[in-house]
Symmetry: C2
Subunit: 355 residues, 2 copies
């Protein structure tokens, strides 16, 4: 618990940053003597020791035991992330890989996120994670009916979000091809582009009247449309590189492993967090127990929304140990989420490309 805000002297900041940088690299507690090797810290180990003691008192550092060095506390990491860490410069190799991904022609969110997740885990050596968010509550922009037989047809719906949804319908009575076409026309006239709660009984009755003979058709159809629009929003969570995590010493005891792996069984919680924070258009960083997903108290989560125009189609991020390379991960997540969003935007505009 820090006594005052921002009371850190420049020297303290320097030392704190050096400790965290070192710990992120080495994974072990950092001692005063080790720090003297940094050019910027041209003090004796004793001086550094005093500063460290104060930093610990302020809550930025912790000591696993008396005779060990210091490790950053959660607060320490938070301060580091907010004020200390430097901008990461991506390597040519990384940029290359990322750009390769961006050249994928497929505009499909699904496939891009799949690949992006894998790439994330490869580039960071942590676990890549992505959320595919299926649009909630879209309206139907356009209807079509695919006539199969007098008693069965497929209702094709283009949602306002640009996805195509279909429902297969089997009837207990015959319907002619003409009626089916008329039905599609009616749906486009009365239902397309409107919120479902605008489709009131009078509207339905009018459609029935205009459809004539097969008026009994309307009810099941409206029901099917309703179901489609109100389909529970089932976000899907993707992982890649889980085994990467297990290579870090902090996951060398079973309890810790059980912890992180808990996320597989708490997918819903994680989805909840990612969905909840998706609306804020910035990079979300959860360090240790900052995450509402209790099971992840030993790890950190960084992610950012992916958009298609205004619409949020998902999120992409990384799960790693608390001492993860925040600077690098933030840079990669930012770059990737931004560019995937851009990619999808530009795909929307393609007018002349299907060679």
């Amino acid at each position: 618990m820090p006594t005052d805000k921002n009371e850190l002297s420049e020297r303290k900041k320097l030392i704190l940053k050096a400790i965290i940088d070192t710990h992120i690299n080495m994974g072990e507690p950092v001692g005063s003597k080790y720090l003297t090797r940094y050019e910027q810290l041209a003090f004796s180990s004793a001086t550094i020791r005093n500063e460290m003691a104060e930093l610990e008192e302020m809550g930025y550092l912790e000591q696993p035991h008396t005779s060990a060095g210091r490790i950053p506390s959660q607060l320490g990491y938070r301060f580091y992330v907010d004020q200390l860490m430097q901008q990461y410069r991506m390597s040519a190799a990384e940029l290359g890989e990322l750009d390769k991904l961006m050249k994928l022609k497929a505009a499909e969110v699904d496939r891009i996120l799949d690949r992006a997740t894998k790439l994330m885990s490869v580039l960071t050596n942590y676990t890549g994670v992505a959320l595919k968010r299926s649009q909630s509550q879209p309206t139907i922009a356009r209807f079509d009916v695919m006539y199969l037989s007098p008693r069965s047809f497929i209702l094709v719906m283009l949602t306002s979000a640009g996805a195509v949804k279909t429902r297969q319908l089997h009837l207990g009575f015959d319907v002619s091809r003409e009626t089916a076409e008329k039905l599609a026309a009616l749906l486009n006239e009365y239902v397309a582009g409107r919120d479902m709660d605008k489709i009131t009984l009078p509207v339905i009755l009018e459609m029935q009247t205009r459809l004539g003979e097969s008026e009994q058709l309307i009810n099941p159809i409206i029901k099917a449309v309703w179901d489609t629009v109100n389909e529970p929003e089932d976000s899907e969570l993707l992982f890649d590189g889980v085994n990467n995590l297990l290579r870090y010493p902090e996951f060398s005891n079973i309890e810790a492993v059980r912890g992180v792996l808990g996320m597989f069984d708490e997918k819903d919680e994680l989805v909840g967090v990612m969905n909840h924070d998706a609306d804020s258009d910035r990079t979300n960083i959860y360090i240790g127990s900052e995450s509402p997903v209790e099971v992840m108290n030993n790890s950190s989560l960084i992610f950012r929304t992916v958009r298609n125009g205004d619409r949020i189609v998902g999120a992409i991020g990384v799960i790693g140990p608390r001492r993860m390379d925040y600077s690098k991960v933030v840079a990669l997540v930012d770059y990737m989420s931004r560019n995937i969003s851009k990619l999808m935007d530009s795909n929307n505009l393609i007018e002349d490309k299907e060679e």
Copy 2:
């Protein structure tokens, strides 16, 4: 390495079965003295000891070290599974849960498999796993065109497998609504129900002729259909209850955990195995290193195909430690895969039910 086939005396079988049953329950090496408590083994520990020594020589048992009891070898488990284990009788509670699942109206493979995977992990306390297999190489049974604007429309395709696929097309030239309709009619006449390799140049030329003015439309369309039919078969793998596994003592050291968890990073391999064996309509049991997925050498995999009519739509199964309760798991996997298949069959026949 067993010297002779099936040379096991009844008494040896009894002992072997008792050892394996006990080991499956307890997870620890089984000693000769412990076995004397079984009614059926009314011999002295010395006698049993002799038999055990022979069973070990034959390759059915192993001894972790001189002063420990015996554990089943892979061969031992195999023999047990093939000849020794008894039919598992499901409990009322289990049947209840299973039947609840079967009452789901949704005919959607996806959702059923999701739920089934979770249920599997709950009922067995191992990890439930399922494969959703997207149909490979279907032909297109029916086409439809959803006209959006002169330069864009959606091609809707009903595959022979019953799935609806769509492609959004953006053109560099204008097309009239009538042309779009004519296109759909032509596709239904020339392409529907045919293998793509029957769509030769003459056929394409004839379609172009009949389409008249907008003949340039045909090529991109055929390309889109081709892409759809040849879409890489991307099977999806579902997991649930990963943390269940970590509760078993055999996964109390990191190496073992890394092993099982490798399956997350070798999804493709696992998918390969499940896809490969899916064609055989029986319950597949891989014990330890019998599995071609190298990373799973410390665990066992049991799964079985799920069908919709003749078509294989996926598989469902369980991953557990080598000493898993084979009898129970096999019974559950069988029951579940059979009933899901049946459920989907019956859903296919519904003619009059969409409330």
